[in-house]
């Protein structure tokens, strides 16, 4: 293990333990780690965008002869006019372009790629072709989708049949929340396990290289 790798492991371990120290109580070491993380992330992101967008996708191709890229370049630069109250309106040109393109792309992709396939998958056969179990699950899906949609239908007071269906919808939503919560617990515990794995294997393992 090289000295650079050792230093890297110790820096990671220090910041892991510094952030865990918040579990006891707020303290200056935690604050230091938090601020360094925020600053580093912002700095890294700016550097990355500068390199991968401004240099690689704009500057270098323009120097290579793609002069039309000056148009998106100028439109990007116009965004900075937002810092001037007098000229901030100019940035709306770029914003309008971004909104138009984004809407166009997302309208098609979301409808074609998400909404329609998801709707199609709820329209299942309620017959027993695939067995009793599949039929039962298909019925659960149909009831779940309809009752949940009705719960979010606010144009009519939830009374009578509408009220009963909406209450069934609440049960489906609650079951969904329960599943989400269970998975969230697993996810958060996994993060802790990951850190403990690092501390136990890499950090404690590095002691043998030092001492």
């Amino acid at each position: 293990m090289s000295s650079v790798e050792l230093l890297q492991i110790w820096i990671i371990a220090f910041f892991t333990l510094a952030l865990f120290s918040f579990l006891y109580k707020d303290n200056p070491v935690y604050k230091l780690a938090e601020h360094i993380f925020a600053g580093l992330s912002a700095g890294y992101y700016v550097g990355l965008v500068w390199d991968t967008v401004i240099i690689t996708q704009l500057w270098d191709p323009m120097l290579a002869g793609d002069y039309w890229l000056v148009v998106p370049g100028i439109m990007g630069a116009l965004m900075f006019t937002r810092f001037s109250p007098r000229f901030s309106w100019v940035s709306r040109v770029s914003l309008a372009f971004v909104m138009g393109v984004t809407s166009g792309i997302f309208l098609v992709s979301q409808l074609h790629g998400l909404v329609l396939p998801q709707m199609q998958s709820t329209m299942q056969s309620l017959g027993t072709d695939n067995g009793i179990g599949a039929m039962f699950l298909a019925i659960v899906v149909v009831i779940g989708v309809i009752s949940t949609l009705i719960y979010f239908y606010y144009s009519k007071e939830h009374k009578g049949v509408l009220g009963v269906t909406a209450r069934i919808g609440i049960w489906f939503i609650m079951v969904s929340f329960g599943a989400h919560f269970g998975y969230t617990v697993m996810g958060r515990v996994s993060l802790l396990i990951g850190r403990v794995q690092f501390l136990a294997e890499d950090w404690l393992g590095s002691f043998s290289h030092i001492f």
Partner: protein, 278 residues
Amino acid sequence: MSFWKTIEDIDRRWVYLMVGLAVIIPFIFPTEFPISITPETQMLYDAVEAVPDSSTVMVVFDYYPSTIAECQPMSVAALHHFFRKDCKVITLSNIPLGGPSMAETVTRRIAPLYDKEYGVDFVNLGYKYGYVAVLSGMGTSIESIFPTDNSGTPISKLPLMDSVRNYDQIAFIFEVADNATADYWVSIVNAQYGVPMCCGTTAVGAPKYYSFVQAGQFVGLLGGMKGAAEYEILLSKPANAVLGMGAQSLVHLLIIAMVILGNVGFFASRRNKRKVTP
């Protein structure tokens, strides 16, 4: 002070300590809990098995370093699986913070185990800003989006990329994500270009993607560390995820015990209050 009152007023730091110990102890005294294979993981495994040997696939590292514990075992297992099948692997990332370097580190660690050579058997395209444009653009030409690989080498100089122009030459996409980029792979790449794909995601994101499996948009799903552990078992390569599941199971048992204890305590103290103030 009654037992239930003590439980009710317990300092939450004791709970943190118990959770911490429940995670640490299985690493000192390895504990094994049974890991059953869910249908979604089995579907994913079968789908990857069905990919023709020696075909070109994509493994996408769309996760931040913060979720390494859950996502990295999935990527590692996927690379083992594809390299074992002699597939050509293209890696890329839509995550600026750590994605490209994790792809580089993990792939270069596993490739030598299968005598795979960079540029011939695997390529890391790295990161490019603007995932919507990136995912759409690769449908026309991968080279127009990634003129160079992660190290700055023109992809025209990489033999693997000679035969790969766009998604038409990609047999399968293995997306590992801890965020909503998986939605865009589905809505842009799967829906518009018809490339079969599966997803490995964090436990937090998994419930959302079950409906994608049901709709056939993902051919399989790995949900969190449990999904990763299942995949490792199916591959007969138990590693970090299987190791972590001991701690995971122990913490879950602890949390279940605390939830039961908390509820019993709540109802017991409410009954006591009713007795005192009729």
